[in-house]
Subunit: 365 residues, 2 copies
DNA sequence: AACCAATATTCAAACGTTTGAATCTTGGTG
DNA sequence: CACCAAGATTCAAACGTTTGAATATTGGTT
């Protein structure tokens, strides 16, 4: 009935329907400070009518006028990677109390999409941007655009403080250390390592951590048992890489009793490869992953891994973004921060002490 | 430099900078039909200046004026469920060519969040809504609101055509049949079944399919080998349920050589339970899942399952929504549709013929 | 009776676009 | 030289809000 041209009920409609001016209605419905001055009876009447007509304020008009979008762009490099979703959830939860909404989109590991969606995010006047990144994010040209528009940006999963961007990631090196130390404590001495792809930021520090812990605890790592995943990678090539390397390792007949895989999917690939060849995990060979994503938890044996506090990282990313926005409003200069979240060793079923002391016997069979 | 009060470059800025009126600049930059009448030289000049200043049209102002948001609200019941993400990807891909953007949010299986986010979607004037649903979506009050605002809506994962909503889901019954027939063809006769939670729409038809195929192929299902998952469920309780039931089945000492699990996570739980008790999959017991999500693929043994064409379903959902929007513009009445996507059996490592004992030996023939 | 301070409500301009209608240039034609 | 049709550009109103300033309505003091 009250609907004029647009399919939506507007302030105007409500005003006309209850005989007050648009201003009054607006003041009441948006609970502006002035609404204290509005007679309680009027308030009641207006509210009732609004409800009755099914009025919802138009976010566009409101944002245009208030110059606030209440939106944070969230750009995930690959939503189907189980790594992303807990972070996203943390972000959403962190934004909600401030009445901000994430504008969440999936770059599907394609640079082209990434770019065009980033532009879209700017056009929708996001007040901040959170990028969940990995290799996809190495160019700076878009950053320049963002900077030009003074939109605060936080990146999770990479350290880009060098390019003046607040960054949030797990302490990869500590995680690497943990995995090696765990295996060492179990008694392993012949440990294979599958490093991450060269392009991926996490690869280097994890490997460094492993090496450091090895040196510190007197374990030497046989170079011939160190592999590296190839570059192009969606969450699935990790699995395939793990599988391929496991086969390769076994074929080389070089003895090893444990594998440190770059991430959980890689670890699962390794398990597959070992199982294929008749090696049992963990009795014949231990495997440890990294990330602690769902598949690692529900596989049998479940994968011992290095847990990343993903949800907490998402929460923090949201908090930083909001606080950067606030700072900008107050005219405060922007402050770039870095946080390395503490990883945590989660011991599950895929690791155990190495078989017996006569290692070669069983393993070469 | 050109930026006045807002942090953003506006049409006005561009106009002033190159000495044309706002209208002209708008016409050129938005490639309106009138822009054919604009001298090529002016066009060039304007474009160049826009680029130089870093102008991006304000989506709010544009949407307000054009009365189009170019946005489809996408409400996922649980983004961290690996079931959701492929659908989301399909939706996003289906929307892109039409220059629509999904406003994607995660209801986290909470009705309260679901409601408040749905309102938010309406306020942001989404031109359509796609709900990826399961149990969470059983009330109609919100639907009424949506209807009132004439926003087309499509639901994927449930049949709500009864409530006048276009629905898109897998043919659960066919899937159920497939899983039973697969096991039967392998020679299994003692098959346990774990049904889905009662509240979940999929549960019933899958079970019906299993029963139908059983009847048709002369396999009888022992009622005492039929279980049902409890109601409250995030994607993880499926796993726990499977594990619990596996233990229970084994404890009952009732013989069975295969398990049909409600979904992949449940299947993985079953595998865990069987393994715990020393039963090998598939040599001692076969397990089949449903959905074909990532964890089923990367586990060892990989899980034989019923594949849902999730991405295609997402694409179709997007197409339907867009076409409903178009129809509404043309004043055509709304048409509600139903599609049951064809599932597909994916044979992997978790199923095999039953161990050849007394009875099964004969039946293999 | 004039004045004041609350209290209650409305005006009108603005946010950044788009677009139908209006205006201003042209050069070409009769 | 008056006239016209394109061709090129601009006017001005609108989209649905918000908000500082203005106005109208009270009853209460001097």
């Amino acid at each position: 009935m009250g609907q004029r041209k647009s399919g939506h009920v507007t302030l105007h409609d409500v005003a006309r329907a209850c005989g007050y001016s648009v201003s009054t209605v607006s003041i009441v419905l948006s609970e502006a400070p002035l609404s204290q001055n509005v007679a309680a009876s009027t308030r009641e009447r207006i509210r009732k009518m609004a409800r009755q007509l099914g009025y919802h304020p138009d976010a566009f008009a409101r944002s245009l006028r208030r110059r606030r979008s209440q939106t944070i762009g969230v750009l995930a490099y690959d939503l189907s990677d189980p790594f992303c979703t807990p972070i996203v959830r943390g972000i959403q939860d962190g934004l909600q109390p401030a009445h901000f909404v994430p504008l969440l989109i999936d770059a599907q590991t394609q640079r082209k999409l990434f770019d065009s969606y980033l532009r879209m995010i700017l056009e929708r006047r996001a007040e901040g941007v959170i990028v969940i990144a990995s290799w996809i994010f190495q160019e700076t040209n878009l950053l320049a655009d963002i900077e030009k528009n003074h939109v605060p940006i936080v990146i999770v999963g990479r350290d880009l403080t060098g390019r003046n961007i607040s960054s949030l990631l797990v302490d990869n090196e500590a995680g690497g250390e943990m995995s090696l130390r765990h295996l060492r404590d179990l008694g392993h001495r012949h440990i294979a390592v599958i490093r991450g792809p060269e392009e991926l930021f996490d690869s280097e520090p994890r490997w460094a951590g492993v090496q450091r812990a090895a040196a510190a605890s007197g374990v030497s790592i046989d170079e011939r048992l160190v592999f590296q995943l190839p570059n192009l990678m969606d969450s699935f090539t990790g699995f395939e890489g793990g599988l391929a390397f496991a086969r390769q390792m076994l074929a080389s007949r070089r003895p090893f009793t444990a594998v440190i895989a770059f991430d959980d999917l890689t670890a699962l690939g390794v398990v597959r490869g070992l199982t294929e060849a008749g090696r049992r995990v963990p009795q014949d060979c231990s495997v440890v992953g990294f990330d602690d994503v769902l598949p690692a938890m529900v596989a049998t044996p479940s994968i011992t891994t290095i847990h990343q506090p993903l949800k907490e990282m998402g929460l923090l990313a949201a908090a930083w973004t909001l606080q950067a926005i606030e700072a900008r409003e107050k005219g405060a200069g922007k402050r770039i921060q870095l946080h390395q979240a503490a990883p945590q060793l989660v011991v599950r079923e895929s690791t155990a002490p190495p078989a017996s002391k006569e290692k070669s016997k069983k393993q070469q069979a």
